[in-house]
Amino acid sequence: MKTRARLPRLVAGGATLTLALTLSACGDGGGGASSDDGKIHVLVYGDAANKVEKQLVDTFNKTSDVKVVLDTIPGADYQKKLQTIISTPQAPDVFFNWGGGSIKPFVKADLLMPLDDFIKKDPDLENKFLPSVFANGVVDGKPYGIPMRGTQPVLLFHNKKVLDQAGVKPPKTWDELLDAVGKLKDAGVTPIALGGGDIWPTQMWFQYLFDRLAGPGLFEKAVGGDKSAWESADSKKALGMIRELVDAGAFGKNYDSVKYTNGGSVALVSSGKAGFELMGSWYYSQQLTDAKEFAEKDLGYTVFPAVEGGKGDPAGVAGNTNNYYSVMKKTEHPEAVAEFLKLMYSDEFVKAQLEIGNLPTTTNTDKFIDTSSTPEYSRFQYDLVADAPSFQLSWDQAYPQKASSSMHKAIQQFFNGQLDADGFIKAMQALPTE
């Protein structure tokens, strides 16, 4: 009797124990990417550009003994998920990033491999890329990233029709921009469309104006840990100019309720309700998707206006320099990884990127630009980046990832008047720089 009653208990207990053991075994890297299966795992941001990455992986795997496996993390959560797996056995061998501050903490945690040795063996890994772009993969004087995908400079786009009707020409200087704002307001349209609900479009105005006014040195100092940069005269002057622009009604009153990501600000320009929009080079293909006829006929683009008396070169560019592949220190196949990275300056890579509308930053891009889907626009961008004396990486990527949330808050609050200049300066000084 007693034994009979005990039996189900034992069975149940045994079953749960087995279950628990199985569950805990899952945590030991049984599933997903692991680095010790004789393959190289390459982790990339999952989106339309994966088409090219798959193609390159196939090309590589045809001749290599060590095979490459492409893992993708879809959506904008890439950075968060990357950081959670990077110090686990699931970490990839090679991963996609934005260079600059986005990899600095990984370098500091001693997870990444400096690429000097690769470059010593094959100098083309450095020479075949545009210098201003390659420079953003360098941390503490050592290269940690090989450019991949394409460059995304921020440009000032406009609706040609709206500007014509208001008697405005694309502005070459800040004063001309202020003048255009007045005229467009009189014509009854929002002078500049801004997706302030996403905050990062707001930041574009800061990073460009600071670069024009103070030159790239000021921000370099700040991101290097010198907090006094934010309270310098140039910084204060730039803030004053932003204040002036906002107060002049350049962005209307409801910019914080408008989003770029749901097509709100994009439609403002294409439907003729706004004159300008400052946005990354992907804007062109976005307009092609959202409003094809407008994009082909009436969408104009220029560089960010020069600031009179500013220390920055008017040819300087801001935006997303490029994306980069970084290599984990613990990879067991460094030779194969080096071979794989060589593909990033191959003709095949350049052609495939141009076909999907990306603009690679290799020296051989020039040869193939006419095969791009929008040759004239690609040419404009390429010359801009190739001739740029400096390329200001987006602020939120130049700082370590953990600073971006506080930075975005400060930018939004200064822009809509919740913070004054001193409050903004204090908030920026409180950001972690490493």
């Binding site: 009797m1 207990g13 903490p105 990984f106 953990k402 913070l419």
Partner: protein
Amino acid sequence: MTTKTTSAPPAAGPRKGSRRRPPASSATKVGRPGFAWALPAAVFFALFAIVPLIMVAVLSFMSWDGLGSPEFVGMDNWSRLMDDPVMFQSVWLTLLLTVLGVVVQTPLSIVLGVWAAGHQRNRAVLSVIYFIPLLLSATAVSVLWRALLDPNFGIPAEATWLFGDGNLFGEQATAIGVLAFVSTWQFTPFHTLIYQGAARAVPQVLYQAAEIDGAGRYRQFFHITLPQLRNSMITSMILMIVGGLTTFETVLILTQGGPGTDTTISAYYMYDKAFKSFDFGAGSAIALALVVSATVISLIVVRVSGYDKMRSTMEGVS
């Protein structure tokens, strides 16, 4: 497992009023729930709730950015939070949103629920339509409303007399209003369902008796229906409070805690600290504070309302 039922019948002779129980069949013995039955669930609960909770508690005393190994910092995270104005604001905002949710949704869902419990024409069809918002994920609902409330192309553009320049997400008061509205829109159907079920369970005799006594529809509602819904009301309110304290997706998608930190509720602040600023220690501290306060508030509601005693709503009936 030996029980009295299998032992010999009581030595004393048959007593008055005591019935001899039939010998337990083997079926009841096997079917009797032992502790082992709860083990699988207990193990899962421990693994996915208790263990993480303990880990969060430990992590709240450490500094960790997700890279390398955590470092013990004592009360540092906690004292930083105590000095953090955003933390206090987030607590206040969380409570405000929770109270707004309860105050707005409760009357609405009672009225709708009682109505839906009736036998009117087209009631079933309309009930199904009311139910649709609940079937959508919070993410879909938030994306939908963000687009509908676009100041230039959404509803505010058409109704400028009501929305002005449509800067709903650019100001604190209106942004909170939108958050409260969207969760009301989404969760009222659920609470309506609770009240519909409860209203159906009210014995018809009560209404018949009231009618004989000459009570009108409103008197019947306030003196019979409402008191009979008491327990359901508490259930529904506890769910609203817990839901309100843990609101997250709507804020993440609709406002991202902005403008600035104006709609940064505690759950979002936890996410912001842990997964955007990679300050897992501070994030864990907020999470733990949230767990403790949600538990305490729920317990208070249960105590104050007398729900724990489970008094019958049928009292006075039988």
